[in-house]
Symmetry: C2
Amino acid sequence: MKTRRKFIKETAAGAMAAMSIPKVLYEFPAGAGQKKIKLEKNNVILFQGDSITDAGRNKQNESFNNPSSLGSGYAFLATAALLESFPSLNLKVYNRGISGNKVFQLAERWDKDCLDLKPDVLSILIGVNDIWHTLNGQYNGTVEKYRNDYIALLERTMAALPSVKLIICEPFAVPGVKAVDDRWYPEFYEYQKSAREIAERFGAIFVPFQKVFDEAQNRAPGSYWTGDGVHPSLPGAQLMAKAWLKTVL
Amino acid sequence: MKTRRKFIKETAAGAMAAMSIPKVLYEFPAGAGQKKIKLEKNNVILFQGDSITDAGRNKQNESFNNPSSLGSGYAFLATAALLESFPSLNLKVYNRGISGNKVFQLAERWDKDCLDLKPDVLSILIGVNDIWHTLNGQYNGTVEKYRNDYIALLERTMAALPSVKLIICEPFAVPGVKAVDDRWYPEFYEYQKSAREIAERFGAIFVPFQKVFDEAQNRAPGSYWTGDGVHPSLPGAQLMAKAWLKTVL
């Protein structure tokens, strides 16, 4: 049994720990030295992207902070941590990722699925389909098209939401696992370089997911973190959520 | 803004914390002083219970470590942390919670949904429906029936799986939120007392969820952590996952 004093002490310590949970969820060098985002009361946070962000979310449920509408990927896991860690901020978190999307498909639905939601914090993970669907003949993409479409999308975003806090997530892949073969390289490096340059150009926080998955392979094979080299497994999604929280907050 | 010194200090502290992520996910006094479970290679972990454990899992998908089969509650969130934190253990985590279940309904499906899975670690959260369904006239339960049914279920479990590591989770409710009115008390305290006594009787780890939800109300109103007083919200589920990990590991 605990003394009252000890209980109070631990509770106080716990309270402080709770305030910085996201920062200690995963002490990854990702984002070290980068600026952070200070979440404010009533902030609207939007996760945008492709299937990795979508993660099987229920498209009929467009509400915020809702497991069904958030899917079962990194966006859901990061949201659970955000809502539990910052109960006083009244955060509203949306997921509008859609499987298969490339940058131009984000642009096609951007008014409804981004600008109309007026996010204070916008996190985008896009790019893997821009190369993948080109390699498998479903799309005719190039690095230049990816870069130009992405820049145009963000210029349009900043014009409509000048004070939005931007987070650009690095498209990633795990070489040698199923879908990710030699045909991806070195071209995919150019897509990743473009994402990083675009983050710098727009003063966005950059989440280096490739580094996260590269480092994770010191703990388990790539196939443990992603089934097909592109889509994260459950532990892979948790890895992403931790890296996102660590980098952003 | 942070000073460099402060940043280094926090990073170092965080790095140590990262070595034992599950234990520091939430520095809650819950479970302090209790024995812990040491997970071992190839361990099978089973979450059993009612709708709070079920959390909308896809019953057609009976696989392990799978977001669809794990639902979107504390079992899913705890599993994501377990699989990411212990990649070398080849853990297999199942969720077999079913909405509306009372203890006797666990017993009816126990061979298929527990014993046949041969869990090394078995976590059970059951009891809220035993009183709730009695209060709303769907069931004719008593504390004695809850206690006796629960003891019989665990004796049957220990006979079939003598080396299983047991985790008994405390049934909880948030008084004053929707479904949880004065009719619950003081009787519900007896259900909670029975769960704690049963945990002691079987040498199980006891997860004090009531304390977790009571303490959380120092940070936000009860309605933030549970919509109806019984089912956790997303932040409530994260709260549970953290408390479970902190208490068990």
